[in-house]
């Protein structure tokens, strides 16, 4: 087991008139090699949960174990933890500050004491992972980039630390459709090509359905479902809708087709699968036509 949360709760502004309980007795274990999607209504505690995972917040009750070690027992170890667990926040482009993209991406590894050739290598590799051309971009100022490019730089700056696990908080929020699509490929590559353990928070169910292997559904600071996307989007439709969440768009299409009397599998999650399903019923029709 890689990360283990034991009965972890977190309350903001503890003992103040406006305290808010953001997480309530979370028990969660995450293994290496997983791709976890987290969904939930706004304010349900997703971002708070992510911050517990890399030790930015200390649970008010409960413990966080990483590789079997309680990370808040030894505060000096937290930097090591952040080397293993890379976290990017929502709108990471708001944290850029360096004069060149090279320096920006080198900030992370430099903080961890990496220098010279090794540093170059790290930066190059990180830029390759986010598909930014090293020679073309390295000397440009991060502030003259487009929003999508800035976000790539920000994510690269975390990737350059070479973490084993990458946690992304709404990486595709407010991107145009084209960058959205290329970000999906990028995230997929991080998992498939670079073998990172991934945790992804998104409000976009299509993204979650397409990428995640395990989905956590959160509501009011609790994890109320923890299963495969197929189980969740197929079997818990009412429950999801009750807490204000949607299904992936194609799943809706398939549900409608089924209502219209077509023999389709309504548990379809991705456009690829939907295509196959629709082709298959069309083929059946065709052969039927041939018979009559």
């Amino acid at each position: 087991m890689f990360i283990y949360l034991e009965n972890a709760s977190y309350t903001y502004n503890l003992n103040m008139p406006f305290e808010t309980k953001a997480l309530d007795s979370i028990n969660l274990s995450i293994d290496r090699g997983e791709f976890i999607g987290i969904i939930g209504h706004t304010g349900c505690g997703k971002t708070t949960l992510l911050q517990l995972l890399n030790g930015l917040l200390e649970p008010t009750i409960g413990h966080v174990f990483i590789d079997g070690v309680d990370i808040h027992q030894n505060k000096k170890g937290l930097k090591e933890i952040r080397k293993k667990i890379g976290l990017t926040f929502q709108y990471p482009e708001n944290q850029l500050f360096e004069e060149s993209i090279y320096k920006e991406i080198a900030f992370g590894p430099r903080n961890l004491g990496i220098t010279d050739d090794l540093l170059d290598e790290r930066v190059k590799k990180a830029m390759k992972m986010v598909e930014l051309d090293y020679n073309q971009y390295k000397d440009r100022s991060p502030f003259e980039l487009s929003g999508g490019e800035m976000r790539r730089v920000a994510i690269a700056s975390v990737l350059a630390i070479d973490p084993e696990i990458i946690i992304l908080d709404e990486p595709t929020a407010s991107l145009d459709p084209q960058s959205h699509a290329s970000f999906l490929t990028l995230i997929k590559n991080l998992y498939q090509k670079y073998h990172k353990t991934m945790i992804l928070v998104s409000h976009n169910m299509d993204v979650i359905a397409e990428l995640a292997q395990r989905v956590l559904v959160m509501e009011k600071g609790k994890i109320i479902m923890d299963s495969t996307p197929r189980n969740i989007f197929q079997e818990s439709v009412e429950q999801l809708e009750k807490i204000g969440l949607e299904l992936p768009q194609v799943t809706y299409v398939m549900h409608r087709l089924k209502q219209m009397g077509k023999e389709v599998n309504s548990g379809v999650l991705t456009i690829e699968e939907a295509k196959e399903e629709i082709f298959s019923i069309l083929k059946v029709k065709k052969s039927n036509n041939e018979i009559f």
Binding site: P17, L56, T88, F89, N94, Q95, F97
Partner: protein
């Protein structure tokens, strides 16, 4: 990380009480007058009356004592320090003496007096800020200052700046915390090293903070212009302040109290 977690801006505590409902102008003026009296008076009786006045006031406001005490905490050291300085430096009848250090009765009484004076000053400002929301405060200040508009004093602009600043302090603090966390996720260390190194470590926080603040200022300016904001000329208020029955009653009480204190001091 415990950066700003314990910091609240403005210590306003919302309660449904007659004191909270008072017109901010009357509260600001009361505080000002009380502070002047506290500074000028030389009589314990005045302190007693003022202390009684605010005790009743705070009781009426339903604000828990712990918030009042929290306001006092930062200056507790100062109060104790003044007490001791007076205790040991005022000449007079000696209570006891060790070497050159001696304590006098005059020092004791003087020290106590100054300590109580400081205590009451803080109590006055706490009473005002605990029961008046920042927005009501700026509203009241604007109205009070508008008297000086005749001599060209930009009362509205100053009040608007204060309102905007108050509005954005929590936002900027939230943003600072977020940036700190983001940079810590990139391995930044804000807790070790000497002062010079620590200051240099602030750069990754300050630059994004400023950039974001400028963006925000820009957006706000455009949004205000889009809604035809043209300064204070001819502007009316959503919450028009007017003296109500409660304000009149309070006005009578405060006038009576102040008169009493002045009489005590003059006689």
């Amino acid at each position: 990380m415990k950066f700003f977690r314990n910091l609240t801006i403005g210590q306003y505590v919302h309660k449904d009480s007659p004191i909270h409902k008072l017109d901010p102008r009357i509260k600001i003026l009361t505080s000002l007058l009380m502070m002047i009296l506290i500074f000028l008076t030389e009589s314990w009786w005045s302190f007693l009356i003022i202390g009684f006045f605010f005790t009743v006031n705070i009781w009426l406001s339903k604000v828990q004592i712990k918030y009042v005490l929290r306001g006092l905490k930062p200056i507790l050291v100062l109060i104790i320090l003044t007490l001791f300085i007076h205790l040991f430096t005022t000449p007079g009848e000696v209570i006891f003496q060790i070497g050159v250090i001696r304590m006098t009765w005059e020092g004791l009484s003087r020290g106590m007096f100054i300590a109580v004076r400081l205590f009451l000053l803080i109590l006055t400002t706490s009473w005002l800020t605990l029961t008046t929301s920042p927005i009501a405060l700026t509203d009241g200040i604007e109205r009070l200052l508008s008297f000086f508009k005749i001599i060209g004093f930009p009362a509205h602009e100053i009040a608007m700046m204060m309102t905007i600043a108050l509005r954005f302090i929590p936002t900027l603090m939230e943003e600072t915390e977020k940036i700190i966390k983001a940079q810590m996720s990139r391995g930044a260390d804000f807790e070790s090293g000497n002062i010079l190194k620590r200051m240099k470590n602030m750069i990754p926080i300050i630059i994004p903070l400023f950039i974001n603040a400028f963006h925000r200022a820009d957006e706000l300016a455009i949004a205000m212009e889009a809604r035809c904001y043209r300064g204070g000329e001819g502007r009316t208020h959503y919450r028009a302040l007017s003296f109500k029955y409660l304000d009149k009653v309070f006005f009578m009480i405060i006038s009576f109290t102040i008169a009493l204190i002045i009489i005590i001091n003059v006689v």
